[in-house]
Amino acid sequence: MGVEGIGARVTRKEDKRFLTGKGRYTDDMIVPGMKYAYFIRSPHAHATIRSIDASAAKAMPGVIDVLDGKQLQADGIGNLICGWMIHSKDGSPMKMGAWRPLAAETVRYVGDAVAIVVADSAGEARDAAEAVVIDYEQLPAVTEAVAALAAGAPQIHPEATDNLIFDWQLGDPEATDRAIASAAHVTEIEIHNNRLSPNPMEPRATLGIYDSAEDHYTCYTTSQNPHVARLVMSAFYNVAPENKLRVIAPDVGGGFGSKIYIYPEEIVCLWASKKTGVPVKWTSDRTEAFLTDAHGRDHVSKVKMAFDADNRITALKVDTIANLGAYMSLFSSAVPTYLYATLLSGQYAIPAIHANVRTVYTNTVPVDAYRGAGRPEATYLLERTIETAARELGVSPAELRRKNFIRTFPYQTPVIMNYDAGDYEASLNAAMQAADWSGFAARKAQSEAKGKKRGIGMSCYIEACGIAPSAAVGSLGAGVGLWESAEVRVNAVGTIEVLTGSHSHGQGHETTFAQIIAGRLGVPIESVNIVHGDTDKVQMGMGTYGSRSGAVGMSAVVKALDKVEAKAKKIAAHLMEADEQDIVIENGEVKVAGTDKALPWFQVALAAYTAHNLPAGMEPGLKETAFYDPANFTFPAGCYIAEVEIDPETGETDIVQFVAADDFGNIINPMIVEGQVHGGLAQGIGQALLENVQYDESGQLLTASFMDYAMPRADDLPSFKLSHQNTPCPNNPLGIKGCGEAGAIGSPPALINAITDAIGNNSLTMPATPMKVWQALHAAH
């Protein structure tokens, strides 16, 4: 502990540079001789490419070259891959269609990359792109997953008959059906989870640099996981062997999942740099981001929840169709399967669960993990269903949840997950108290007196963070292990660098990771630097997503720090002629417990490097590496309550209060955790009320700018009431669970439950726009 250690509200070390415009993002990178790329993209949702004529474009001012997919293929650059194998319930592997970094024969969504122009300036590249003549033969397109499965739908990949990628299941279908057949009550509901565009503040960008003297490539990119990018580009795309490819993800302005994946642009810019002999930079504009960044969600599900006569849940049956877009993005197959169906037990003891998931190709942007990834879909489905059940059964939604809570841990669900710790009632009680739940009826009466409709709704979410035990995910089809690495490097003067495989793109790692060190050693936080995002500097690591940096990344730091401390204690014991067991490190000193003997931390570090007087046989230096493989997922959980007031004349929703009671286990920096919850809530409220990706029937993206895609703004949001309950995670050294996604996971159902409560009509889909609420309200009355 201490003012800068675990639990302290340390202001973010990185903010000075971000708030003063001194951040260094990929687009800020300027290297000698650098040229600019413009990607020519398909204007059609589905078409074959008959011919590409770039002759006029190549003759235009400033143009270095125009390159297309046939050239890329001829040079042996591989197709993009999905890294998580899912098998259908008949045992057959998922049907992965070819995703070429530049389409050569067929384009499958509006925005599919076809060719690249490299020119002296971005403007000249774009001018020349307009002179490239591409002859397309348009094909029929389909954008909705349900329609894509229907007979006669346009076929998108020859590998996937009827556009079906896999038909997968989890749980026990027979036991579930039996329980439903003998239930006292069955709630049935259809659930739509709307399609979202991630919209990080910084659009994607990449700079590919080929060094012909060393036959070496450098890739600057907006990545959440530069080592994974290097691995995939080496192992699957044949860009270069890993030792000849350096990937640097410098400051990155938000990701929300969309920057996990390797996209065509990184690969193509590296290849184009070799082809043209110049460094090649590409920066997405906002519309390009809407057209090409992996989207999130887009599920349609049918749900049955069965109850016994005592209102205990006896079974849950879910049939989901998930839209994966035109190609299988890197982790796309895992999202609607192992990150979704495994959480369908929620906070409830449900004896029998069966989930069937069909994933489908459509002529839309690929869909992959977006803040929460599968868990928001599971939570929305479950919490809308139980709320609906409470209304049908005529019981309090809080009491129905309370009755069905899991209360003993560890708890093995019927859908793989083994919950390690939790106290769901604590969060429920805290949230209801903070929201003055019992005073709602009086507030509703006040609203009604002024002609407004008031509603209240809750959501009890659980999620799985800290992905994940490598052997477990490997057995489920993951192509990688999901451990994390850290190196704690003590300099000769006692200052410290921590090299972490986690990547910070808004999370504040430079502060929180440093707090771990500062707290343990009692050194000033300024003496600790966090190094990340460069494959040449940092040992192999797996990156940041799924709220794993705390639970996995920091655990690796702790392991490395344990080793550093052990060695420092040995050195100190030797120097002070004391027993190693008696040495303690605190307040920047290495001490012999119970005596006044002490050495300043820097002196021990210096001794390690001068090596004049080390214990016999000890190597000089003070630097240790650790790889941490988690024993289990972590299970943050909580209860969110939304209270809304609806204007029946316009259908406008005013969120009059929003309460979030979260159990994240131990907290390193409460200020940063609150910021994460605020951001997650904003995105969840955005999904519930505002955001929606829409295509027209021909596959044109209608919401391709902020003029039509409604992002939440500050004045769309209330002031949040937050609280934290704490059941420490027993499976990692810090007892932490993860907080990055909870807000986005827990909030949508709370809001929709509140709005449907207000308007007295349970048929409402997200986003609950003023028009939809107005329509639902008038349909109900």
Partner: protein, 265 residues
């Protein structure tokens, strides 16, 4: 954006001369729509003739109850004018809720009405107040000025120099924002003027800003929000888009009209 030549006009005459010299040129008066359109390469004027720095086009003058707003006056100035607020607070309120602070300091009344975006706020005020649009060569009544979606009655090379109106006895504006763009998904300006009641609707009409005769008649005989209860709004003349269909807009037209009357007092 395609290459373009920028000219900062020093006077109205200078602007008209520059425009005449450049057949593919465009006037620029804030550029809140034009510059975005150019950045998307959907417009490619050879020359931009910036009107915002012509002193004669900037500022608000008040003579008795006659108000003249120079065409290059930014929204923020209209919103902040105490003299104007004393005479016609509705137009100050309207100007103060256009876009965001950046837009309000760049965008101008002349630029807004010359663009005549069907979701812009100012056309509702200009039409609702029965204003007169002065140009470099003539005066045009608001009723004749707005001719359709992004269409106005200006001739080639003609430019708006000012908007003039008699301060109304009462006026009010109410709008419902598009959740994404925050343009008016429906905005209604009501005014009780010397020549009668006028009600102008923006954001909703399939031909752009329009007057609602039924509302005007109802309010002429009884200036109250309740007077509009029985008046119908014809949805067949209204826009349907991603955010609002015509039926919902018809509802909003009525609700916003009532709120505008309530705001007018």
């Amino acid at each position: 954006m395609y290459a373009t030549s920028y000219h900062r006009a020093s006077s109205v005459e200078d602007a008209v001369r520059l425009r005449a010299r450049n057949e593919e040129g465009r006037y620029l008066s804030g550029g809140m729509t034009l510059i975005s359109t150019m950045k998307q390469r959907l417009a490619a004027p050879s020359d931009l003739i910036d009107l915002r720095h012509i002193p004669a086009l900037r500022g608000i003058s008040i003579d008795g109850r006659k108000v003249t707003i120079g065409a290059a006056t930014p929204h923020a100035d209209v919103a902040a004018s105490r003299e104007l607020r004393a005479l016609c607070p509705a137009i100050c309120e309207l100007a103060g809720h256009i876009g965001d602070p950046h837009v309000r300091h760049m965008g101008t009344i002349g630029g807004s009405i010359a663009n005549n975006d069907p979701a812009a706020d100012y056309p509702a005020a200009v039409l609702g107040l029965g204003a007169t649009v002065a140009t470099d060569r003539r005066s045009i009544a608001a009723d004749a000025f707005f001719t359709g979606l992004f269409e106005i009655a200006l001739e080639e090379g003609e430019m708006v120099t000012a908007v003039t109106f008699e301060a109304p006895e009462k006026a009010g504006y109410a709008k419902f924002n598009n959740p994404a763009s925050r343009f008016a998904m429906t905005g209604v300006f009501v005014a009780k003027t010397a020549s009668g009641v006028r009600v102008a609707v923006t954001g909703a009409g399939s031909d752009g800003v329009f007057r609602h005769a039924g509302f005007e008649q109802a309010l002429a005989s009884n200036w109250s929000a309740d007077a509009l209860n029985g008046v119908s709004v014809d949805a067949s003349r209204l826009l349907s888009d991603l955010h609002a269909n015509a039926e919902y807009r018809a509802n909003l037209v009525k609700v916003m009209a009532k709120r505008a009357v309530a705001a007018a007092g």
